[in-house]
């Protein structure tokens, strides 16, 4: 008996409905974005090897460094995740009619490395880069996760600038403004939104974090401004080649954002509370990427929960300046992947830029400045609403 056209059509529709979720299942944590080409997936997989590559002094590590591999910090629960490590930054802020932020580059700033190679230790008898006496601020920086950063990189400048309201013209008490790199380009990466592109962030991270020079930064860090003693750094510059940095960049760029957990009834309530008390004015739930040569990054929505702008967070959180950011101004931290920081061992630095908050709830209550009104609304929430909001945040 031949099947009828209607039966075949019905089976086809059924198969389609069944297969939609299978083909669009969100990538697992640490996996690449959906929609990459075979070549891009290959770059991602080879890039992971570079990201996890452990350096030693004989392969370029140091002489000053914070860690011996990208994945030594961005590690939990998989490569690209947050970590326990906290680094030290230093800058000097000069307030006045023409405020100016000195990144103390001539003194080894703004990142003050916390480890030295045995050769440098033998030469100078130091255990870390000396903290510059000229600094007016000292900032501690936890290790964030970097999932979905390729999508953040692909958000057009115009989208970010459209969210800015530096003079608070809408009088909502929120006045985000953009930071600028030293050449005037819009910044977006880093806790102070100094760095314009993911590529530059990655290029700069090898020499700054591992003391590994690359083609974009072919000179070693100074030791608090002083040249490196002879014989301490025997590896010729650059210590990694262009291919290695390109692959590392591909790994970071193609890491998928963490898929949020299922939106339960309580989390839905929490999401509504998030919106109602004003969290979303800075932690903008969704940004959209622009046209991009990488199809998987092109015209995509990313649930980043950030506006990538600077906001005044009040004097209690203030530490260093950077670029145009004053000591109390910080970029809105993306909340995608927030739950991963909760998985860091209790007692270790977990929340806020410096890890001072032990829980999400404490992090919210430490918000000040532009966020003070929303913080107060959080404090005034009913127990059920507060619980729902926290449950929602733990699902991101």
């Amino acid at each position: 008996m031949r099947p009828s056209v209607t039966a075949l059509l019905g089976l086809g529709i059924l198969a389609g409905l069944l297969l939609i979720p299978a083909c669009h299942k969100a990538p697992r944590l640490g996996n690449p974005l959906d929609g990459l080409t075979k070549e891009q997936r290959d770059q991602f997989n080879r890039g992971r090897i570079e990201f996890e590559r452990v350096f030693v002094p004989e392969t370029g590590l140091g002489p000053l460094f914070n860690a011996n591999a990208c994945a030594a910090c961005h590690e939990s629960p998989v490569s690209g995740g947050p970590g326990e490590e906290v680094e030290v930054h230093a800058t000097a802020f000069f307030p006045g009619a023409d405020p100016f932020c000195d990144p103390l580059a001539e003194k080894g700033g703004p990142v003050i490395q916390q480890h030295v190679t045995p050769a440098l230790k033998a030469a100078l008898n130091i255990d870390s880069e000396p903290f510059p006496a000229e600094a007016t601020g000292r900032g501690l920086r936890t290790t964030p996760d970097i999932f979905g950063f390729g999508l953040l990189d692909a958000v057009p400048d115009a989208t970010i600038l459209a969210l800015a309201d530096p003079d608070d013209r809408d009088r909502d008490g929120i006045s985000g403004r953009p930071n600028r790199f030293f050449d005037g380009r819009l910044g977006r990466f880093g806790r102070k939104a100094l760095v314009p592109t993911l590529r530059e962030f990655n290029d700069g991270a090898f020499p700054v974090e591992q003391g590994v020079t690359d083609p974009a930064v072919p000179t070693e860090n100074t030791i608090a401004g002083a040249p490196i003693p002879n014989g301490v750094d025997p590896v010729p510059e650059p210590e990694i080649n262009q291919q290695a940095i390109d692959l590392t960049d591909a790994f970071v760029r193609f890491l998928a954002p963490p898929a949020p957990l299922e939106l339960t009834r309580e989390r839905t309530r929490g999401r509504d509370v998030f919106s109602r008390i004003g969290c979303g004015r800075c932690h903008v739930p969704r940004l959209k990427t622009g046209p991009n040569p990488v199809k998987a990054l092109s015209n995509k929505e990313v649930a980043a929960y950030t506006d990538l702008l600077l906001h005044d967070m009040g004097p209690e959180l203030a530490d260093i300046c950077l670029g145009l950011a004053t000591p109390s101004e910080f970029r809105t931290e993306p909340l995608m992947g927030l739950r991963l920081s909760e998985q860091i061992e209790e007692g270790k630095p977990r929340f806020l830029h410096d890890g001072r908050a032990k829980s999400i709830e404490e992090a919210i209550t430490l918000h000040g400045g532009e966020a003070a009104a929303t913080r107060d609304k959080f404090r005034a929430l009913s127990e059920a609403d507060r619980k729902a909001l926290l449950e929602f945040l733990r699902s991101l």
């Binding site: 069944l18 023409d98 580059a105 380009r185 290029d203 991270a205 700054v208």
Partner: protein, 139 residues
């Protein structure tokens, strides 16, 4: 057993087979339609790639020594650069001539310079943008 959107129940192996078939078909379609061909990565590079030309922030101006220190870098790898500014160096804002003393720290400048041995000698300094004052005072 898995309940589908249409209310039917299917045994998992069949569902798995259907899913695999669909994914294989989708991948094959992409492959044969050329969607998997290489897409060249295009990264936005820094604006200061030219060897003797860069845009940076003024960190210090010494009118007596006729020197300038600027801040540049890649990501958080920030680097200072000291430049000599001879009398012959052309300093401009929007095409109008200015003096070295008109520069102030925080200005963003476009600089053309030459390397002479270990020295860097500026030929042209154009104030690209007068930096908008950061909001607030050390809050």
């Amino acid at each position: 057993m898995i309940k589908t959107l249409t209310g039917f129940h299917l045994r998992t192996p069949l569902l798995t087979k259907l899913r695999i078939t669909c994914c294989v078909a989708a991948v094959s379609l992409m492959f044969f339609s050329g969607a998997s061909s290489a897409v060249a990565l295009s990264y936005s590079q820094g604006a200061s790639a030219a060897a003797n030309s860069l845009t940076a922030t003024v960190a210090m101006v010494d009118t007596k020594a006729r020197s300038l220190e600027i801040i540049t870098g890649v990501g958080h790898a920030v680097a200072p650069l000291q430049l000599e500014v001879p009398q012959t160096c052309r300093i401009t804002v929007g095409g109008a001539t200015r003096q070295l003393g008109d520069l102030k720290r925080g200005d963003i400048v476009r600089i053309q310079y030459r390397n002479i041995g270990q020295r860097h000698v500026a030929d042209n300094v154009a104030i690209a943008t007068i930096q908008p004052a950061p909001r607030g005072q050390n809050r």
